[in-house]
């Protein structure tokens, strides 16, 4: 692992013997011009090519690994399936099919679930983050933030099984409190909402914490000295400042819930219509054979929505960053 290498003695750049790769250093040192600005330019010139060289692998990697599938999605979404009787030709059939019938239901189900969980995530994450940020115990704060980091990234299968064991049909809580008789089912829209919040709330905590840390105590003191109540402080000072961050958090949570697949697949199979589940089904030919290109069209729908999400999120994030300096 790279970290092993990194564990070597601290930097300090002490008495490093000039051997090794002295080449480039020696080359840049005797830059001809004595005037300092010119010399700076000369030092800078050489590594610029090296800069491109260092970035090139990344560019090539993304171009191939991201570019090829993206190309395949965009072109495949507008083509008939390879095995079609009248040959492969351009069509808008896949895309129009992807926003009709069961697929439209799934798309709508995904949007509804994501919007609901994102809104709840914001509402629940904000007080939690606030409680954590204002806590006097630094250790607690760091522990919660670290835990949030894990939980936010730890969606997926283990999470699904933890909830199946807790609230599933034979889960501990379900049996203990006899929840099934009260109409509870984990394998439903509301069940998924509870599960999704498990990774969305920590994500919100992570997203909003920097903004909350940026709320100066002086602002609160200034508000209080001017006679504002806590409520007035929040509605007139804190929330307006936090608004872009909150909106950005909502959008991020929406995107995260929208893209989630593993949790839903492991819990509900396909009893709740979600677009991610539909894509997987269409890909594996579970429902109908030859739906591969419809899956690509559905993917394109998802990318469009995710793209919109990012297009909203990035400016919001930039705007919220203004206050955090």
């Amino acid at each position: 692992m790279t970290t092993a290498r990194a564990a070597t003695p601290p930097p300090a750049a002490g008495p490093s013997p000039e051997g090794a790769g002295g080449g480039p250093a020696a080359a840049s040192a005797p830059a001809p011009a004595p005037a300092s600005p010119v010399r700076a330019g000369a030092v800078r010139r050489r590594p610029r090519a090296a800069g491109w060289l260092a970035v090139a692998p990344l560019i090539v990697f993304v171009a191939v690994v991201f570019g090829l599938p993206a190309f395949a999605i965009v072109t495949g979404a507008f083509k008939t399936a390879p095995g079609a009787p009248e040959g492969v030709h351009w069509t808008t059939g896949n895309v129009s099919q992807s926003v009709q019938g069961a697929y439209l239901t799934a798309l709508w189900g995904s949007v509804k679930l994501s919007a609901l969980t994102a809104a709840l995530g914001v509402l629940l994450g904000l007080p939690l983050a606030h409680a954590v940020v204002t806590s006097r115990f630094r250790a607690l704060r760091e522990a919660v933030l670290a835990a949030s980091g894990v939980l936010a990234n730890f969606g997926g299968v283990p999470l699904a099984f933890a909830f199946v064991a807790t609230l599933g049909n034979s889960g501990e809580l379900t049996r203990g409190l006899d929840l099934t008789r009260h109409g509870w089912s984990l394998y439903s829209f509301s069940g998924l909402t509870v599960v999704y919040l498990y990774f969305l709330v920590p994500l919100m905590v992570l997203t909003i914490t920097p903004a909350l840390e940026g709320l100066r105590v002086q602002w609160r003191e200034a508000a209080q000295n001017s006679g504002a109540t806590t409520r007035q402080y929040w509605t007139h000072v804190a929330l307006p400042i936090l608004a872009p961050s909150l909106a950005g958090g909502f959008v991020l949570l929406f995107g995260s819930a929208f893209a989630a697949y593993a949790t839903a697949a492991a819990i509900v199979g396909s009893s709740v219509p979600l677009i991610t589940l539909q894509i997987a089904n269409a890909l594996s030919g579970n429902v109908l054979a030859g739906q591969g290109n419809v899956a690509l069209a559905l993917s394109l729908d998802m990318i469009v929505i995710a793209g919109l999400v990012m297009a909203v999120y990035l400016p919001l994030q930039r705007r919220s960053a203004r206050w955090l300096r």
Binding site: P24, A25, L53, P69, T276, A280, L296
Partner: protein, 312 residues
């Protein structure tokens, strides 16, 4: 702007605040904070506790640890675990090799490329894993369809080798890019990279030596963080692998769930515990170093009053 306020209001604020304001503020928020904390603890620890209970309390047998001992004997455990760990190691290495030189170069010599790198690393956020998988499987179908008989076909086969599916590695590296970029970029931002590198170069160190012995040790915290996040990503990844038909750890757990719920839950618990242990190790390893570099900034932002009070 706000940084200018404390000295200006300094003499006046401390007098009213210890008397009037805190009395009003202290009581309620503390109760409220406790309540929030309690709800959070119940919600976040509840499922974990219930999972553990679920695995040790089998309905007809009472308390038993058999589901845990059953893990190691379960079919496919070792092979899927090995595959996942290999993929994780390879993903971490590849992500670092791609990103670290690029980010250092962007900081030092090619600031114009910065936007490009940022965009490149954020692109995967726009394509959800399922959509990426749809694209990948469609690309993989080009192999037999369009390139049969050419050398490219061999490549297509090679990257799908079930023993070590390179295609999964590529997908994981792509998916890890956004997080890894942010973590490493934050780490680099906390360093005065230019001065460090200049100092090292003035002492006669070449570029490779500078990077390995000066830059990387200073980045230790960020590197560890990146490695950990990538590891968590690969350990938990299900979407791409399951749709493409491979069986790393997460897929194996789900396939087990159908036949043996107890064991699959206990594996989930174990993998959660494993992740937490790794996190603790990471926190312990990262603390010593990051304390000096990153912490002061964050603390100054978090508790400006402390800084203001210390001054007079």
């Amino acid at each position: 702007m706000a940084a200018l306020t404390p000295p200006a209001t300094g003499p006046s604020t401390p007098t009213p605040s210890p008397t009037a304001a805190p009395v009003r503020r202290r009581g309620r928020p503390r109760l409220w904070r406790g309540l929030v904390g309690l709800v959070a603890v119940v919600y976040f620890l509840g499922p974990m506790a219930a999972s553990v209970l679920f695995t040790v309390d089998v309905p007809n047998e009472g308390f038993t640890l058999s589901s845990y001992s059953g893990i190691f004997g379960a079919e496919g455990f070792w092979s899927s675990l090995r595959l996942t760990l290999e993929l994780a190691a390879a993903t971490i290495a590849a992500t670092m090799l791609l990103l670290v030189p690029a980010l250092i170069a962007v900081r030092l010599t090619a600031p114009r490329l910065r936007v490009l790198v940022e965009v490149l690393c954020s692109l995967p956020l726009v394509v959800p894993a399922v959509a990426l998988t749809a694209g990948i499987s469609s690309v993989l179908r080009w192999g037999p369809d369009d390139f049969a008989g050419t050398p490219l076909f061999q490549t297509f086969n090679a990257i799908q080798n079930p023993g070590f599916p390179v295609v999964l590695l590529l997908a994981y590296v792509l998916m890890a890019l956004p997080l890894a970029y942010r973590t490493l970029d934050a780490g680099l931002r906390a360093l005065d990279l230019e001065t460090l590198v200049e100092a090292s170069r003035n002492c006669g160190a070449g570029w490779p030596r500078t990077v390995v012995h000066v830059v990387l040790p200073n980045l230790r915290g960020a590197l560890l963080n990146t490695a950990f996040l990538t590891l968590a990503l690969v350990l938990g990844e299900y979407t791409v692998a399951s749709i493409l038909g491979y069986q790393p750890f997460a897929v194996w757990i789900v396939s087990l769930g159908g036949s043996n719920a107890q064991v699959s839950v206990s594996v989930s618990v174990l993998s959660l515990v494993l992740t937490w242990v790794l996190l603790l190790l990471l926190a312990a390893a990262g603390r010593g170093r990051s304390q000096r570099t990153a912490r002061p900034n964050r603390r100054a932002a978090a508790a400006p009053t402390d800084a203001a009070l210390e001054k007079p």
